[in-house]
């Protein structure tokens, strides 16, 4: 296995407020890494640093190094290229107010693919990969906002997959979904793992335990513990990790 991400001495500031403190982490290719920790500890911040989504916020400053396949994402890679390689799925499903087809074809079109046959193929393949093809194949021209929340979220996953990312960042992708939709997304993540690296933020301990290979526990902007998921959930080394996963925290 190779290191997909290599994060070294990462500090991240919103203006004067330091949201991430000296984070060091090696993320392996084609694994699922779960990020856990109490609200406000910096999980989303960390995730959004990996695809430079935080660049959009005024006053954000990043120090340290984040390497993707050995390249510094803030120096060596163009930001649009980076975000093509690293897909993102958000907490609240955010399909565009357009048809299912146009949603999924959006990324490929943005990268210059115009041929209808080619787009058709990408759309179908992506919807199949996101395990939603059968549910929407008859309403592919319908507005994506008319679908259920769980379906919308899988459309968003299909939309991310359509540009063939190497990494998928998921920020609490199931927190707005019912248990059945949640299971579908979890199954999907495990299926996708064959091809891509997944980093997922979750407040659901069972979810982290079920699907992830590695788990990282954050607290107040610091990475407290990062290890095999089995170890984190059975014999954590840090007392704070143990308190958190057993629900004895704060």
């Amino acid at each position: 296995m190779v290191n997909k991400f290599s994060i070294k001495n990462l500090d991240m500031y919103y203006g004067d407020f330091q949201a991430l403190i000296n984070v060091n982490m090696e993320i392996l290719d084609k694994e699922i890494t779960a990020l856990i920790g109490p609200s406000g500890c910096g999980k989303s911040t960390f995730l959004r640093t990996l695809n430079r989504m935080n660049d959009l916020i005024e006053g954000v400053r990043v120090e340290g190094e984040i390497l993707l396949d050995g390249e510094n994402i803030y120096k060596d890679i163009d930001v649009t290229k980076l975000r093509t390689r690293i897909g993102m799925v958000f907490q609240k499903p955010n399909p565009f107010p357009m048809s299912v087809y146009d949603n999924v074809a959006y990324g490929p079109r943005a990268h210059g693919i115009k041929k209808k046959a080619e787009l058709d193929e990408i759309v179908e393949k992506s919807l199949r990969r996101a395990a939603i093809w059968d549910e929407v194949k008859d309403r592919i021209k319908k507005n994506a906002l008319s679908l259920s929340g769980g379906q919308q979220q899988r459309i968003c996953i299909a939309r991310a997959l359509a540009v063939d990312p190497e990494v998928l960042l998921m920020d609490e992708p199931t927190s707005a979904l019912d248990p059945i939709s949640t299971l579908k997304v979890e199954d999907l993540a495990e299926e996708l793992k064959k091809d891509i690296t997944i980093i997922i933020v979750t407040h659901n301990m069972q979810q982290a335990a079920r699907i992830s290979d590695k788990t990282a526990f954050f607290l107040n902007g610091e990475l407290i513990e990062f290890d095999e998921t089995d170890i984190i959930f059975s014999v954590p080394k840090d007392k704070r990790t143990e308190d958190y996963i057993t629900g004895r925290f704060g």
């Binding site: 695809n51 989504m53 959009l56 649009t80 290229k81 980076l82 975000r83 093509t84 390689r85 897909g87 993102m88 958000f90 609240k92 955010n94 399909p95 565009f96 107010p97 357009m98 959006y106 990324g107 079109r109 943005a110 990268h111 968003c156 939309r159 991310a160 540009v163």
Partner: protein
């Protein structure tokens, strides 16, 4: 207990008073609109009713006539309707793209310091009295057009279009900007997260999502352009007859027809000016109905 009840009753009274105060204020607006509409239509429709004391005029001749010679009893306004519509269309065609691009620039692209310069400038533009726009048009635009055109005068359809274009900018910019601001960030993040560029995001996601708001701005701009009087009167040329044949032709929009002659008109002539007002009013009502549809459509979504 007794004190509490007293308080309750006092509050109730206050609520009721406030309620009636609001109702009264709202009524002022409604009554004004109704009164204006009634007055204009009442006076303006008289000449078309047989047996009118001041004399009658054919509605068809009025709406299709190409000459306005009150002295000879000719009251045709088709060429004015055409002038108004051409001027408005021209102003919209030129002004809307400029307005939308400016709004996009302010809302999405401009660095903060540029925004702090442009925004007050736009607000100021909105606050300039229309007669000042007219003076600007007369002093700058009209002479410039005189250089270009073969016509002896610079007052023309083109001059009207240019002045109106500037005048609708603040409306289009402000409303488009707030429509853009109302587009949820999650759409932008979704697009940027797929590796789309900022411009691609703006044109493919943000503007389409802001569509109904932008349309509302355009419709309000149309309303402003078609109803503008003072500035237009100074730069239009106001001929007494004839359809405009080129952008250098002088025109006589509906509004200026009323404003120029009302002060000395009487009898049938005066009523025909009111009739011109009826036509203008009808245009405004149509525009408002369209606007209502657009905004209602976006609320339902």
């Amino acid at each position: 207990m007794g004190k509490d009840m007293k308080l309750d009753r006092k509050n109730e009274l206050k609520e009721k008073l406030a309620h009636y105060l609001f109702l009264f204020n709202a009524t002022v607006a409604i009554i004004s609109v109704a009164a204006i509409a009634f007055f204009v239509f009442y006076r303006g429709l008289q000449p078309f009713i047989p047996g009118n004391a001041e004399g009658t005029y054919s509605l068809i001749d009025f709406l299709t006539g190409l000459e306005w010679r009150p002295g000879e009893g000719k009251f045709g306004i088709l060429y004015m309707i055409v002038g108004s519509l051409l001027a408005t269309t021209g102003a919209i065609v030129l002004g809307v793209p400029i307005g939308i691009l400016t709004a996009v620039f302010i809302a999405e692209l401009a660095p903060k310091w540029i925004r702090t310069v442009i925004k007050p400038a736009v607000e100021l533009l909105a606050g300039i009295p229309s007669v000042i726009y007219g003076l600007f048009g007369l002093g700058i635009i009209v002479p410039a057009i005189m250089q270009l055109s073969s016509q002896p005068q610079g007052q023309s359809l083109l001059a009207v279009i240019l002045v109106l274009m500037i005048m609708i900018l603040p409306t289009v910019i402000t409303i488009t900007e707030s429509a853009i601001k109302a587009v949820p960030d999650s759409y932008r993040e979704g697009s940027l997260g797929l590796g789309a560029t900022k411009l691609y995001t703006v044109f493919r996601v943000v503007l389409p999502a802001a569509k109904s708001g932008i349309l509302a701005g355009v419709v309000l701009g149309i309303g402003r352009a078609i109803g503008e009087t003072m500035a237009v009167m100074l730069v239009a040329g106001n001929p007494i007859a004839g359809l405009p044949t080129s952008i250098f032709s002088p025109v006589r929009p509906l509004t200026t027809n009323i404003a120029m002659e009302m002060s000395y008109a009487f009898g049938l002539h005066q009523e025909m000016l009111f009739a011109t007002g009826v036509v203008l009013f009808t245009f405004i009502i149509i525009i408002n109905l369209i606007l209502n549809r657009i905004t209602r459509g976006s609320e339902l979504k």
